[in-house]
Every structure is written in C-alpha cells, then in structure tokens.
C-alpha cells in the first residue's frame, strides 16, 4: 500500500469554522438541508454536541480507580464491562464493553482496524492517531514497534494482546495500579489515569 497516511494530514484550525474541502462542503450542505427540512433543529444539534463534549477520559479514570480499590467491583468489571460501568451511572450506547486487565506479564492495546470504533460515550473524542491509517494498519502486525513510538518499551517476557474493536464491541484497558499508592483515595487514583493508558498506548502510570 502506498502513501495512505492522509487521515489528518490537513488540520483545520478550531476557529476556521468552514473548511473548504469537497467532503466537508457536502457535510455542511447536507446539514443545512436537513435543518431546513425540519428533520432536526439547530437546538437539537447543540444539545447533542454538548453531550458528546461532556465525555472524557476522566470517566475511564474513575472506573479504573474504583476497580483498583474494590476487588469485587474489579471482578464484575472484567466479567461484564457494560453492566459494571453502568453501575457507576454512566450511559453507554448499546454495545458490548469489554475491559482488559494489564498485568506484570501481559499488556493490552486496542484498535479498530476497519473504521475507528472507540468508546466515545465513555472516553470522549478519539485522538487523531487512533483514527490514522498507520496506527490501524500497523498495530495488529507489529504492536511492539508501534508501542515503542508511544514510548512504551516492552520486554520480551511481556506478551501483547491487540484487541480489534467493532461497532458492536468496544474495549477499554485497565492499567496496572502504580506502586506506592496503597493509601491513596479513589479520587487521587483517578487523576493518575491517562487517556492513552486506557487505550493501551501507555503502560506505566506516573505518580506526580
């Protein structure tokens, strides 16, 4: 395959509201037609956008911290992710949700090779690299070198599991609890958890 890494080669500035590519113009034109025809209102659009913007990796951080501090919760989370996440009051879209636990000898990383499925309802907008052609193409074949690009150097005795998401099944990684945090509160622990650690492109969480 030739030069296919175009997913985010054109970065639109946030203050440039209307990019002039053909694809974006089709979207803007479609949006105006749908609103003019009364299929939805600008107010509904605003509500949907605000709801989407409300989701962030902090949600994942709270779930991870709860699992670190509550062995029974962790067991439920690993057995049935969707149900355990809903226990904490989060609303998920109707798909399966599987949480994969990192251990001393196993590292998990998630991808969606076919499109870019991501646990948006929980973690918010996916990072650009997650949607990039290179990440999607390479992480399933050469996960160790991809992880190295993220600064994660795995020793040979740590096995890597790559999980390919679908529209019906999303994943999240449960990172390892850092040493020296035994007496930390859940709120303190939650702050340690990063977006990339929930995707698996970061392994060792840092104690600030």
């Amino acid at each position: 395959m030739t030069d296919h890494d175009h997913d985010h080669s054109r970065t639109f500035q946030p203050d440039h509201a209307e990019p002039t590519s053909d694809g974006a113009r089709i979207g803007l034109a479609l949006r105006e037609l749908l609103i003019e025809a009364g299929h939805y209102t600008a107010g509904e659009e605003q509500s949907v956008i605000e709801a989407m913007q409300g989701a962030s990796p902090e949600n994942g951080g709270r779930i991870v911290a709860k699992a670190w501090n509550d062995a029974e919760y962790k067991e439920r989370l690993l057995a049935n992710g969707a149900e355990a996440i809903k226990e904490l009051g989060y609303e998920l879209e109707p798909y399966e949700f599987t949480v994969m636990e990192n251990t001393a000898d196993t590292h998990n990383v998630i991808v969606c090779t076919l499109c870019s499925c991501y646990p948006r309802a929980l973690l918010g907008m996916s990072p650009a690299w997650y949607k990039s052609s290179s990440y999607r193409a390479r992480v399933v074949r050469e996960p160790r070198s991809v992880l190295a690009e993220f600064g994660v150097e795995l020793s040979d005795d740590v096995s890597v599991r790559v999980h390919d998401s679908t529209a019906e099944l999303r994943y999240m990684v449960l990172p390892q609890r850092p040493a020296g945090t035994d007496d930390w509160s859940e709120a303190q622990l939650a702050k340690l958890v990063t977006r990339n650690s929930l995707v698996g492109t970061e392994r060792d969480l840092k104690i600030a």
Binding site: M1, D3, H4, D5, H6, D7, H8, R10, T11, F12, Q13, P14, H16, A17, E18, P19, T20, S21, D22, G23, A24, R25, I26, G27, L28, A29, L30, R31, E32, L33, L34, H39, Y40, E44, E45, V48, I49, M52, Q53, V111, T113, L114, C115, S116, M125, P127, A128, W129, S133, S134, Y135, R136, A137, R138, V140, R141, E149, F150, D164, A167
Partner: protein
C-alpha cells in the same frame, strides 16, 4: 496475509510512523458527528452499519484523500440520497451555494 477487502481494511498493511500530534476537533466536525447521531435517532438511516457500508464504498483514492469526518459526510449524503430523504439535485445546489458563500467570505 489475505488481500484487503477494500480501502478501509487496513489491518496488517504497511504504514509510516504514527503522527502523535493532538488535534482539536473543529466545530464543523462536531456538527457532522451530531448530524449522523440525529439521523440515526430520527430513523433517517437504520444503523451505524449503513454509514460504515457507505464509507467502505468510497474509492481507494477518495478514502485516502478524505479526513475522518469527510468520509462520514460523504457516506451519510450517499445514504440519504439513496433513500430519497434528500434530493440529489437540491444537494448539489446547496453545495454550490455553500461554496459561493465561502468564496465570498474569503474575498471579503
């Protein structure tokens, strides 16, 4: 390794280094995302599979050239025109109007 099913079927293909730069989501991208979600909610399309199917119909060149939300926009346009929700002629007129407006704003 088997042949890819289409331009979307990237797993195991070659690729360059991963660009780790963070990108803000532009407002028009949120608008396209919201449009797709509202189209689903209002029953204008049946499910995400329909949208993904449209994305997988893009030509390899188009797939490579488009950004993520441009693919969504093209796929939704295809689906809504196919279903008769949107008239193709009116869509083309509206695209021309958006372009004219942008050109005028750019010239101002």
């Amino acid at each position: 390794m088997s042949e890819p099913w289409g331009p979307h079927d990237l797993g195991g293909q070659d690729g360059g280094p991963i660009d780790l730069a963070e990108h803000d989501t532009a407002y028009w991208e949120w608008q396209i995302d919201a449009m797709v979600r509202l189209a689903l909610k209002k029953g204008l399309i049946s499910d995400f599979a329909e949208l993904r199917d449209g994305i997988e119909q893009l030509t390899p060149d188009d797939y490579a050239r488009c950004t993520y939300y441009e693919r969504w926009a093209k796929s939704l346009a295809y689906a809504l025109v196919s279903r008769g929700v949107i008239d193709e002629k009116r869509l083309n007129e509206k695209i021309a109007a958006v372009k004219a407006r942008q050109d005028a704003e750019g010239a101002a």
